[in-house]
């Protein structure tokens, strides 16, 4: 069940295949089992179970709040959460319990999502490895994959097992690891210069950086006010679209959000990519491509890229 997408679990909840409380308990139990990843700074067990209880009541009455009702989520520890310690992985805010929720957190809670806990990060989001927080580094779940462990056994002989792990990237490494390890179905990160996309890539999950001004920053403890955005981490793109639909829109408490109304949307299902055109900035891609792509001649030509066939400009 935990391996399913957000959409799928939502359907399962609506159909009564599983209850929010069971779902919540399974996630909590997995969080405990994967404690060595150090993805969570705070696990809000009581809060989550209470939220699950309320979600269950709603489902019983047939009044679910939407696709996110009863879905376990995690929030990066630089988002203000009312009554739950918010540290930004720093001694400066250790013990700080905010009296208010960040707008994006409130929106998720208003949809009935279950808050599993606050995830680890680089201190004040200053980093791209999730290694520089006071609570220690976050370990990439892929460090414990069969492939990696076998590779490690081949290469190292006398090294301490414990020190052989991969970073998650950062700064939203805790969120990425939490999603990647199936402990939640979506997580909030933040992105200033890649801090959601970077760990998403490292942990093999989907990381979405919304355009600046689309999602409210009220309650996001800032790194660079004119560049920060809340980021969304999920295991599939549709889930990210679902969460974005909930979070996007003008917030009167954030004067840098755009005024235009935002409508929730669903992505069209894409089975035929042959007509798809992808734009690539020339400057970025001349030097940064990995070797399979670099050996081809880019231009208006078809390129083989794993199993996809599409045009590159």
């Amino acid at each position: 069940m935990l391996g399913r997408t957000l959409r799928e679990v939502s359907v399962a909840l609506k159909q009564g295949q599983i209850t929010p409380t069971e779902l919540c308990q399974r996630c909590l139990s997995l969080i405990k089992k994967t404690k060595f990843l150090n993805a969570y700074i705070t696990v809000s067990e009581e809060v989550a179970l209470k939220q699950a209880e309320e979600s269950e009541k709603r489902y019983k009455k047939g009044h679910s709040l939407g696709d996110l009702d009863g879905i376990p989520i995690a929030v990066k520890d630089n988002f203000s959460t009312s009554g739950i310690e918010t540290t930004c992985a720093s001694n400066m805010l250790k013990g700080y319990v905010p009296p208010y929720n960040a707008t994006v957190v409130q929106k998720l809670l208003d949809q009935g999502a279950l808050l599993m806990g606050k995830t680890n990060l680089d201190e004040f989001a200053m980093g791209s490895g999730s290694t520089d927080g006071i609570f220690g580094p976050v370990k990439n779940p892929w460090s414990y994959s069969k492939q990696y462990r076998e590779k490690r056994k081949q290469n190292s002989h006398s090294e301490n097992e414990d020190s052989n792990w991969l970073i998650t990237g950062g700064s939203s490494g805790g969120s990425a690891a939490a999603v990647s390890a199936f402990t939640c179905f979506a997580a909030l990160g933040s992105d200033t210069g890649g801090s959601t996309r970077n760990p998403a890539a490292h942990c093999g999950v989907v990381g979405l950086k919304p355009s600046y001004g689309l999602v409210s920053r009220h309650g996001l403890i800032p790194l660079v006010n004119s560049m920060d955005v809340p980021g969304i981490l999920t295991r599939c793109v549709d889930d990210a679209a679902t969460v974005l639909g909930v979070l996007a829109g003008h917030d009167p408490k954030d004067s840098t959000t755009i005024q235009d109304p935002v409508k929730p949307f669903t992505l069209p299902s894409l089975t035929d990519v042959s007509k798809l055109c992808i734009g690539i900035p020339k400057v970025t891609f001349t030097k940064v491509l990995s070797s399979p792509i670099q050996t081809t001649d880019l231009g208006n030509r078809l390129v083989e890229f794993e199993s996809l066939l599409c045009h590159f400009y």
């Binding site: 988002f79 203000s80 930004c88 009296p99 309650g219 660079v224 004067s255 840098t256």
Partner: protein, 516 residues
């Protein structure tokens, strides 16, 4: 944070004057134009001359002083400039603090519409150019009452620039000697106020109140002196002056101090000073930390403030989200100089009277209410309000709002006077009684004290005749040419009438009777 503040900078007039002596006294000479006569001790524009000390030394060239004022005025709004929390005078400490005011991490400023409107209206009233686009900046410095470590202000591009204010100044001892002067307004900007620090020396602690609805008006003065024709001198800043009187004293003192310093071969430091009102002098305020670097940067959480007029309003714009300067201009109340002109024209009063009416809070409204309810001539009303009424207020240090006499009561009294039901001295007596606020109307007081004028001409004639007969010596005195004798006679008749006869009427009857 913040009680919303408006800050405006006035470029000072150049005051040229001659040095009068070593004391803390001098005379302000006439402003630009007439300084070139080089005469010593010229005080043709002295306002309220201070105590003169010694005579000026010979052969000394003149000094010119340049004064600029930075005025911090709190905007009258229900909530603060950037946070939704309320503004309320004398609220308990820290009871009106929002999350943003306390600088909790993650909170953001949101601009208060009413404050922007107030700033635009102030700019319009001061004849400024309103910038259609203005920007917000952060001004960084560390202090306990500034939890964010920076203040949001408008350094680069403020909301209004290049205005002026015309005002009247007494140039002689007589109230009629008034001239109009102009001061330039360099700019008006919106900014946050910091918190209030309360120093508890007894317990060696400082307490911070983040409500920030404290003193509504504060002025910092920037002062420098130089010789006419030479470049401007180094300026000092005198901070946090709360009354016009102290402001004037501080500036006077500082000008003199700088002159003394320079004439004795010293130099002026670009420093911040405060005014010790007990000693009447300015003292250095800050440690020698050098010039503060405020590390100005654009405020990233507030987009540029765009203002529109009726011509440039974007079509389909939400009226809640845009500010129309033309609409605000229409909402401006009548400005003081227009009111003064109107009073002079409508009621035939002197310009200086209109000034007094406007300068006392609530007095104009009082005056207009009396005018509404009385048949008496406006000139009479003016005289009674400005002399008698205001006099009584000032004597007991009361504000107009605390007056025991209502406009209706005064109107009634003036009506009685107007139809000659009582004499002028009697009216004064009634006014005194009214002031005691025992709940009686003027008519009641007149009846009680029997102050009605003698209406019967026959009775007056008789009383006059009997007085003349009873005091032949005074009559003799008068016939011999003593002009003051008539007054004695009038006084005697008045006593006989128990003050109920109008002195002018008595005089007229007596004179008639004496001449026959």
């Amino acid at each position: 944070m913040a009680a919303p503040m408006l800050r405006w900078c006035c470029s000072g007039r150049r005051f040229a004057f001659a040095r009068v002596g070593c004391g803390s006294c001098h005379r302000r000479g006439p402003p630009t134009g007439s300084t070139s006569n080089g005469k010593r001790g010229q005080s043709s524009v002295a306002q309220q001359p201070h105590i003169t000390a010694q005579k000026p030394r010979k052969g000394e060239p003149e000094w010119a002083a340049v004064v600029g004022l930075e005025i911090h005025a709190q905007i009258a709004s229900n909530s603060k400039l950037f946070s939704g929390s309320q503004v309320c005078f004398a609220a308990p400490p820290n009871s009106l603090v929002s999350f943003f005011d306390a600088s909790l991490p993650g909170t953001l400023p949101v601009l208060n519409r009413r404050c922007v409107e107030a700033a635009v209206m102030t700019g319009l009233a001061l004849d400024c150019h309103i910038n259609r686009k203005s920007l917000f900046d952060r001004k960084h410095y560390f202090y306990a009452d500034l939890p964010a470590g920076y203040q949001i202000t408008q350094q680069r591009l403020p909301i209004a620039v290049n205005g002026s204010l015309a005002y009247s100044v007494y140039v002689g001892r007589k109230p009629s000697q008034m001239v109009t002067r102009t001061v330039r307004v360099k700019q008006i900007q919106l900014e946050q106020d910091s918190g209030k620090s309360l120093h508890d020396d007894l317990r060696s602690q400082t307490l911070i109140d983040l409500n920030r609805a404290e003193g509504q008006l504060r002025v910092d003065a920037n002062i420098s002196v130089h010789r006419p024709g030479e470049p401007l001198g180094i300026r000092t800043e005198v901070k946090n002056l709360n009354s016009a009187r102290f402001l004037a004293k501080a500036i006077d003192y500082e000008i003199q101090r700088q002159i003394n310093e320079l004439e004795n071969g010293g130099e002026i430091l670009n420093e911040t000073r405060s005014f010790d009102f007990k000693l009447g002098c300015t003292v250095p305020m800050r440690d020698k930390e050098g010039k503060q670097d405020y590390r100005f940067m654009p405020e990233p959480n507030l987009p540029p403030l765009l203002l529109y007029d009726s011509g440039s309003l974007p079509s389909g714009a939400d009226p809640q989200q845009v500010i129309n300067i033309d609409q605000l201009r229409e909402r401006l109340p009548e400005l003081p100089r227009v009111t003064r002109q109107r009073l002079v024209q409508q009621y035939g009063m002197l310009p200086e009277h209109s000034c007094v009416l406007l300068n006392e809070v609530g007095l104009l409204e009082f005056f207009q209410n009396v005018i509404k309810e009385t048949r008496a001539e406006p000139k009479k009303v003016t005289s009674w309000v400005l002399n008698t009424f205001l006099g009584f207020l000032k004597q007991q240090n009361l504000a107009v709002s605390e007056s025991p006499v209502t406009p209706s009561a005064l109107a009634e009294l003036l009506d009685l006077l107007d139809r000659k039901a009582i004499s002028a001295p009697a009216a004064k007596q009634v006014f005194e009684e009214l002031w005691r606020n025992e709940g009686k109307t003027p008519a009641q007081i007149v009846a009680e004290k029997k102050l009605e004028l003698l209406q019967d001409p026959e009775a007056l004639e008789q009383l006059c005749r009997s007085t003349l007969e009873a005091h032949p010596d005074v009559v003799m005195d008068l016939k011999r040419g003593n002009p003051r004798a008539i007054n004695k006679l009038i006084g005697l008749v008045r006593k006989a009438t128990l003050g109920r006869a109008d002195p002018t009427a008595i005089k007229e009857v007596l004179e008639r009777q004496l001449s026959s």
